[in-house]
Symmetry: none
Subunit: 249 residues, 2 copies
């Protein structure tokens, strides 16, 4: 156990959660290494949500709440880190959840479904009744007929570059959470939240509740049209640059 006084307590707690997911067979070894890469970028962000990330979260929330057929795409790392938040978002928004894996196996899909169910999530789309997306090799092309395939808007945190590209090429709105503002996923998606996933999901839930309960749904259209993802990513680079610069001077 890490002490709460440890300067990097939150980051280490998140890491423990991921390792626990790995031990349960939810997270792959590649997922562990990918998480470490994200940690490095979060370090450069100062391990906190930036204003630009919070704004991107607001815009992503606007797209989700105004979509006709939204879906949340969950992979191993996402399930391990934010199962509770995924379930809570579902309670607030009723948006269906699909399990969609990079390293796909029926066994791992079932384990993840079980893990999400233990957090109260029902009616999970497992992608076992699937269609293949164009332009992607192998198992990673498979999406659920009732989920991503028919969706107009996909919240796909920690997505890989090929799939993010394939989804946008099909005309879908892709909302992602990615700590690397240079990744192909970040550059390809409609809205990229450059933030650590547990922070981003907590913010998304707070925002969804706010918009739902205050009847401010009319503000959402404006949020969507005034957003430029390229500007948003550049603002994130700048934060990393400034952090490095402040350490140099």
């Amino acid at each position: 156990m890490v002490s709460e006084e440890h300067p990097r307590y939150r980051s280490l707690t998140i890491r423990d959660k991921l390792v626990e997911g790995y031990e349960k067979g939810i997270v792959s070894t590649h997922g562990l290494i990918a998480h470490g890469r994200g940690e490095a970028f979060d370090y450069l962000l100062g391990e906190k949500t930036s204003d630009t990330a919070l704004n991107a979260t607001k815009v992503a929330c606007a797209f989700l709440l105004t979509a006709k057929r939204p879906v949340v795409s969950v992979n191993g790392n996402t399930a391990a880190l934010v199962a509770e938040e995924i379930a809570e978002l579902h309670v607030i928004t009723k948006i269906p959840v699909e399990i969609n894996l990079f390293h796909r196996s029926r066994e791992r899909i079932e384990r993840i479904a079980h893990h999400l169910q233990s957090h109260g999530l029902e009616n999970i789309l497992t992608g076992l009744d699937f269609v293949e997306l164009l332009n992607i090799a192998s198992q990673r092309a498979k999406v659920d007929k009732r989920g991503i395939y028919q969706a107009d808007t996909v919240l796909a945190p920690l997505e890989d570059g090929d799939r993010a590209l394939a989804l946008t090429q099909l005309g879908k709105i892709v909302l992602t959470v990615d700590l690397n503002p240079l990744s192909r996923t970040a550059l390809t998606s409609t809205v990229t939240i450059v933030d650590e996933l547990t922070r981003a999901m907590k913010n998304l839930i707070t925002l969804a509740k706010y918009f739902k309960t205050t009847g401010r749904m009319n503000k959402l259209a404006m949020l969507k049209t005034s957003f430029d993802n390229r500007e948003n990513l550049e603002a994130s680079y700048k934060i990393m640059l400034e952090r490095l610069q402040s350490l140099v001077s």
Copy 2:
């Protein structure tokens, strides 16, 4: 297998070596994550040894070769990535090697000892006859009575921040290899080599051989006194900064 033509061939080969170490029970799950973090920083460094890293390696070599009671501290990732180089350094310098783990278990210590032995290393200190360092909670405080405990100089690659700090507080010279120039380990250590471990160890061996065989041992004192770790880290930040800038514009 990754093709040798792949632009990131070396990085992917190193990753394969680490995953192999994981499968042998040498590397911990946390070690896989830590490696991913290093990969992100190495990417920002352009995946090559910088001039400042090479200079820090020279200074670390000077400290090691002039120490009265030096020791090399080896953890799971270090054993998986550079067992051969650790054994070679021992042949050249006769510096004792101690196995010192963050996620300590007797089983993993024995596996690592076996792995190092299979690369020709003898008389490994396993820390089973240990003393506890001050200011660190739990298992991580344990150091070998005949090793780190009595040492004046510790080469501790991929060290954690708490232990690096505890060792310097005990008045020891701490030499580390860490791709993150912002980490507490990097900031706390006497000499931080901001480089990928296999590259750094190969350089360290070349330098140790050079100083030993050319009788240039008199140069070592000057190398030590003219070194400023803060300046060294700032030079590494600058390289990352410039690379980020070049990717943005």
